[in-house]
């Protein structure tokens, strides 16, 4: 059998770090081939090698049986390889057409011929059912449509082989359904697809075969119909994985966080939180489930004082902290593991010790009368590094040098060490490997068992279901329902997150798909 693409024994190094070590990947014509691995396993690196952005240190690439040397993306394009990037490669103030023709612009007397290009874009869009307006400006269109522009970019260049890099990461469930339909249509038109993902469900749903890589090494290729999510997970992680987090029953009592009629606007004065009500009690973990962009970030920023509240109240332990400055909120007994640890959680160029003191540097015993005692910071840092198993060369190592998991452990150590009554954990396990995820979950549960309140924000249904005692579903800036994880299925939760309501029997009545052919996706 000839493969459209065959990557043999690829090796890619960055300095002393081996990102890809002896990986082989074979793509058959007309298949959806999943590339599975944890964050940092080397999936994107491998695909960037195929796309010509990186040059491999070893191995060979064959396209349609011929050995090729892909020196840059132009070569990849000429070979019919196109990539739909995870972080969209779109110029935001350009139109759809301008983005698509960039680099291979049609001209008339040396002038860019946008009119003809737009027509061609329109035709392609119709052929594949992409529904894209060629004249729209990128910053005005939805994430889903931006992704379809990325797809069009590859088709415009005549791609036969499409690489999708974590395509569902920022899509709504509806958009995911549409994407899967588009992928199937592409296959029907004779294209072949490589799908990079770490989501097992997607793989089971759409792929024909799966190649698994772990820590930069190729583990093997299996046929999807002959495997199971559990098997794939063990292949990916390298050991048996328990999907259930062990925890006892919750004993909630007494309100800690009480939010009433909260209204929050974004910088364009558009309401992102619309009269939201929520409470969290001592000794329970409340999970917020929802699709990204329904007001989760705004909610947490409003509670922690990072964003202005327009109306409504936020109370901590009965005290009104609405529109308090972040420091006052913190001092009222709130710990906050922020959703973007590089943006908010850490000063990456500071030593890890300084970062551990980020919330306490101005208080006794570290500081007195505005004078700071760095020895005391080091001492505190050492305690937390030990207690939270932060793997580092010491308190003086820059935070940047630590792995994501260890950075997150340091943040959790910093926040939990202050013994807050309310711990807000926003996407605490994003981008971490399974070991770190288990550690963090057990710490959250430990806080709960110590009688503290925990508010967990997550985009991963598994996490919300496994860790929370109650699940508050957020949709369009409101809590639309509060459910108990043991009485709810993932499907039901998914419907709530998409803004549907549940019938008595727990099924829904509205079809998510325009063409009514979504059942195979569920």
């Amino acid at each position: 059998m000839e493969y459209v693409i065959e990557m043999r024994n690829i090796r890619k190094e960055f300095g002393n770090f081996v990102a890809n070590d002896n990986i082989t990947l074979q793509l058959k014509k007309g298949e959806i081939h999943a590339l599975l691995g944890e964050n940092g396993a080397g999936k994107s690196t491998l695909m960037n090698v195929l796309f010509g952005l990186y040059q491999p240190e070893g191995g060979e690439i064959f396209v349609r049986g011929e050995k090729v040397n892909i020196t840059d993306p132009n070569v990849a394009n000429d070979l019919g390889i196109g990539m739909v990037h995870q972080h969209f490669m779109l110029v935001e103030n350009f139109s759809v057409t301008e983005n698509i023709i960039l680099g291979s612009e049609p001209t008339k007397f040396g002038i860019t011929n946008k009119k003809d290009a737009a027509k061609k874009v329109q035709a392609l869009s119709e052929q594949y059912g992409l529904n894209v307006d060629p004249y729209a400006i990128i910053e005005d269109i939805s994430v889903g449509m931006q992704q379809r522009v990325e797809i069009l970019k590859t088709l415009y260049r005549g791609a036969e082989i499409l690489i999708f890099d974590e395509p569902t990461a920022s899509l709504t469930p509806q958009e995911i359904i549409e994407l899967i339909q588009i992928m199937k249509r592409l296959i029907a038109e004779g294209k072949s697809i490589i799908l990079i993902t770490h989501k097992l469900k997607e793989i089971m749903d759409v792929s024909d075969r799966v190649t698994v890589i772990r820590k930069g090494q190729g583990i093997g290729t299996v046929t999807t119909s002959e495997t199971s999510p559990n098997d794939l997970a063990s292949l990916m992680v390298g050991r048996q994985v328990t999907f259930k987090t062990v925890k006892g029953p919750a004993n909630p009592n007494g309100e800690v966080l009480d939010i009433k009629d909260l209204v929050v606007e974004d910088y364009r004065k558009i309401e992102k939180i619309k009269r939201l009500n929520l409470n969290v009690r001592k000794g329970e973990i409340v999970g917020i489930a929802g699709i990204d962009g329904n007001g989760q970030s705004e909610l947490i920023e409003a509670i922690t004082g990072l964003r202005k509240v327009k109306s409504g109240t936020v109370k901590i332990n009965g005290k009104d902290v609405t529109n308090f400055k972040p420091r006052k909120v913190t001092e009222s007994g709130v710990g906050h593991i922020p959703q973007d640890r590089h943006r908010h959680g850490l000063v990456l160029d500071f030593p890890i010790g300084h970062n551990i003191a980020l919330q306490t540097y101005y208080t006794q015993p570290i500081s007195k009368n505005g004078i700071i005692d760095y020895k005391k910071i080091d001492k505190k840092a050492k305690e937390i590094i030990e207690a939270y198993d932060v793997r580092t060369q010491g308190a003086h190592e820059p935070a940047r040098a630590l792995s994501g998991g260890n950075q997150q452990k340091a943040i959790i150590g910093r926040e939990v060490d202050r013994d807050p009554d309310l711990l807000i954990a926003a996407l605490p396990t994003r981008g971490l490997d399974v070991g770190a995820i288990e550690f963090i979950h057990s710490r959250l549960i430990e806080q709960r068992d110590n009688g503290k309140a925990v508010l967990l924000l997550s985009f991963e249904l598994d996490e919300v279901m496994n860790v929370s005692d109650r699940i508050a579903v957020i949709y369009d800036g409101q809590i639309v329902d509060i459910v108990l994880p043991e009485e709810t299925t993932e499907q039901q939760l998914g419907l709530l997150m998409a803004g549907q309501s549940l019938d008595e029997d727990g099924s829904n009545k509205v079809s998510l798909s325009k063409e009514g052919e979504d059942q195979h996706v569920e």
């Binding site: 420091r327 850490l346 000063v347 160029d349």
Partner: protein, 349 residues
């Protein structure tokens, strides 16, 4: 090679490369680089007088370097040191000459404070605009430089009844020292060097020992995380520019109260503020490093004055060397790469 060693090697290599480029230019344009550098050396260390004058020249360079470095450490690029220096110069000279019969213990500090306040004001504007409107401080400080130049010239004209030069300041506001002058064969060396060195200590203390310094550095590295940690980011940005402007204003006071004891209209910039960027870069934005950077550039600058007379070489050659050094320090990435390659090759052998 450890990071620390390369960090120190980059400026040293840059200085050497700069001097080599200077030599090549002299050679190509028909001068003897050896004569040139000897003249430069003698211009710096020739006798007690030149040494005194060199130290005098170093003084404002230290303060200008501190101003740039302090802003850099807070994540800001203060390219407006030049303008802050000029307004500081004027303010100190003005206070120095309008108050008669004040005791020195009041008049001198008052003049220094005036210079600091003027510099602070010129730093406050870009700081405020950055904090309030996220306007990039580089553009605003460039514009503020020209405003400082023209406004100061207009003020000088007003103060001196249409003339190009103010009166001399009263001796009660002067930094001049008979002791230092006698020591250095009647150079213009003044007590300002002590103020500059004290300010080096002040900057070190502020950055390394206070919670304010911790906050300024945090804001400089990551504003979002600083805000998350409850720091007032806007306040810190403004404060950083104001303190930086104070250092720059003091640099102007050195000229007003020490070197010249007056201010005259300027056709263009003094260049000290821009050289301050070089000083800070060369000193890796640390207080101690600034002393080294200022010593190097101050010496080159003063020593160059001897080159036309002693070797017939235009003194601009030194400016060329300084510019080349800045290029190399700024391109530290490539020098670092080369140093590491050389080191690993050695290691392999």
């Amino acid at each position: 090679m450890s990071n620390r060693v390369t960090n120190i090697l980059v400026p040293i290599v840059s200085v050497i490369l700069g001097l080599i480029v200077g030599a090549i230019i002299m050679l190509v344009s028909g001068f003897s680089p050896i004569d040139g550098y000897i003249a430069l050396w003698n211009g710096i260390f020739g006798d007690a007088y030149t040494i005194g004058e060199t130290i005098r020249q170093i003084t404002p360079y230290i303060l200008a370097g501190l101003a740039v470095a302090f802003a850099f450490r807070s994540g800001l690029f203060n390219i407006g040191v030049e303008g802050q220096l000029i307004v500081g110069w004027f303010a100190a000279a003005y206070v120095g000459l309008v108050f008669e019969d004040l005791p020195k213990i009041i008049h001198l500090p008052l003049s220094l404070i005036a210079a600091m306040l003027a510099g602070a004001l010129w730093g406050f504007v870009p700081g405020l605009l950055k904090a309030k409107f996220r306007v990039h401080e580089v553009i605003v400080t460039i514009m503020m430089n020209y405003i400082a130049l023209h406004v100061t010239n207009a003020l000088i004209k007003t103060v001196s009844d249409g003339g190009d030069r103010t009166e001399r300041i009263f001796s009660s506001a002067s930094l001049r020292s008979e002791f230092l002058a006698n020591l250095t064969d009647f150079s213009r060396l003044h007590y300002g060097i002590l103020i500059a060195l004290i300010m080096v200590g002040v900057m070190w203390f502020l950055l390394e020992k206070t919670t304010l310094g911790y906050e300024l550095k945090a804001v400089g590295f990551n504003q979002n995380a600083s805000e998350y940690a409850g720091m007032n980011v806007n306040k810190n940005i403004i404060l950083a520019m104001v303190i930086s402007g104070m250092f720059a204003g003091l640099a102007g006071a050195m000229e007003a109260l020490g070197t010249f004891e007056y201010i005259s209209s300027k056709g263009g910039f003094t260049g000290i503020g821009f050289d301050g960027i070089a000083v800070a870069l060369l000193g890796m934005n640390t207080p101690l490093g600034v002393i080294f950077g200022a010593t190097l550039f101050g010496s080159l600058k003063y020593g160059a004055l001897n080159m036309p007379n002693a070797a017939g070489i235009p003194l601009e050659i030194v400016e060329i060397v300084i510019a080349v050094i800045i290029f190399f320090v700024a391109s530290g990435y490539i020098i670092r790469l080369l140093l590491q390659r050389m080191a690993s090759k050695k290691g392999a052998k």
